[in-house]
């Protein structure tokens, strides 16, 4: 019961309270780049969720079972980035084989998941927040992906409507998207303090 409680709180906290996009500013590039259409945003969110769960789990295992045992923490960043690049490569091959149309529409953004700060950021946060069981690491990584998907889908929904809005000329495009993101972040601040 206790474990379940910790897992549930960890999951909710990473999805809404410590949402990577709104409170940690991670993954802003795809957040601004792909959030034009809601179906693409959802696909991107799913791809990121998969990669982040996989690489979060793997890096946690490598970090705790190999690097810390051998005293090789110095090489942490290099190892993490290699794991992430490998995971992205896997997703890319899988999508190209089974969902070629989705693969086409992602274009450059798929390899760019490697340099999505949300993923490396989460791997580093797992270490920073002293998460000390494998199960918890898996749940938190998955929650981070869900939180990212939620953020990018909300944004895409708003931007589809924004196309019809009368925005001042100099604010068209990226500026108004950032301002919208600011207001969304304000809304998500309401969740702060919900847990601890």
């Amino acid at each position: 019961m206790d474990t379940l409680n910790i897992l549930l709180i960890g999951f909710i906290s990473i999805v809404v309270v410590k949402n990577l996009v709104f409170t940690k500013f991670l993954g802003i590039c795809p957040y601004l780049g792909v959030s034009g259409r809601i179906d693409m945003a959802f696909g991107m969110g799913m791809a990121v969720t998969f990669v982040v769960t996989l690489s979060g789990t793997l890096t946690w295992m490598i970090d705790n079972w190999v690097l810390m045992k051998l005293g090789l923490e110095v090489t942490r960043y290099v190892c993490f980035i290699l794991v992430i690049a490998g995971a992205v490569q896997l997703v890319e091959m899988y999508l190209r084989k089974f969902f070629p149309s989705l693969y086409e529409s992602f274009g450059i953004f798929l390899p760019l998941i490697t340099t999505n700060c949300a993923i490396l950021g989460l791997c580093l946060f797992l270490n920073l927040w002293n998460i000390n069981s494998l199960l918890e690491a898996v749940v938190v990584s998955f929650g981070a992906g869900i939180g990212f998907t939620m953020a990018i889908c909300i944004m895409a929904g708003i931007r589809e409507n924004l196309n019809m809005a009368d925005v001042p000329k100099c604010l068209k495009g990226a500026p108004i998207t950032l301002i919208t993101a600011g207001i969304l972040a304000l809304a998500f601040m309401g969740f702060a303090g919900m847990i601890r």
Binding site: K24, F25, Y77, I183, L186
Partner: protein, 211 residues
């Protein structure tokens, strides 16, 4: 001979200026957004972050430019990333050793320089195609442009959030007998998004006038 060197100097100057304004990484290329938003609550961390980025950008551009002829096309991104990761580790350890409290404030955003798009973009677009000197100048221009942008953004946010710049009080606070009521929101994520959005708008207005 002098003609050639003049042309070359002009090219160097242009590369330098491009990073500062015409191709400013934050305002014009929209690269490196996460550190831009995350560390700009105050000027000091922003400046430290900027210096780290200049260091990493300079070193990785030098290395990439030197090994550009040895790279296989399909392996190059991996090599770039590994080079960058190595230098970021150096910068991170340096900060931890000499300015531990600053390293604490910046937290995971220093290792996140690895996935900062500016550095990979410059390695790909400039250093892997050009010689050593151009790469160094490009790194300096881009790095300084990035740092300046961070500092301007952090200056606006710190001034409005606490009435101070560089921790020196400029506006007299209401609770100390002055008139200024700090905008708490400016120090939070909201402030970062909205300030940057409005700044991009401002840059758009200015460049429209130029054209």
């Amino acid at each position: 001979m002098t003609d050639k060197s003049e042309v070359r100097t002009a090219l160097y100057g242009q590369t330098l200026i491009a990073g500062l304004w015409r191709e400013n990484p934050v305002f014009r290329l929209l690269l490196g957004m996460c550190p831009t938003l995350a560390v700009t609550a105050a000027v000091k961390p922003a400046l430290t972050m900027g210096c780290c980025v200049i260091f990493v950008l300079l070193c990785s551009n030098i290395i990439v430019s030197l090994m550009r002829n040895l790279l296989k096309p399909h392996l190059r991104i991996l090599m770039f990333t590994l080079t960058i990761a190595t230098f970021v580790t150096i910068a991170d350890l340096f900060l931890k050793a000499f300015v531990p409290e600053m390293s604490e404030t910046l937290g995971p955003y220093v290792p996140l320089i690895i996935v900062n798009c500016i550095i990979i973009c410059r390695a790909e677009a400039c250093a892997s195609k050009n010689g050593l000197i151009i790469s160094v100048i490009d790194a300096l221009g881009m790095g300084v442009g990035f740092t300046l942008t961070l500092c301007v953004l952090a200056g606006v946010r710190e001034l409005l959030a606490t009435g101070a710049i560089f921790e020196i009080q400029i506006l007299a606070l209401l609770k100390e007998g002055g008139w200024f009521v700090p905008w708490a929101a400016m120090g939070m994520p909201v402030g970062a998004f909205i300030t940057l959005g409005l700044m991009l708008g401002l840059v758009n207005v200015i460049t429209k006038k130029d054209a």
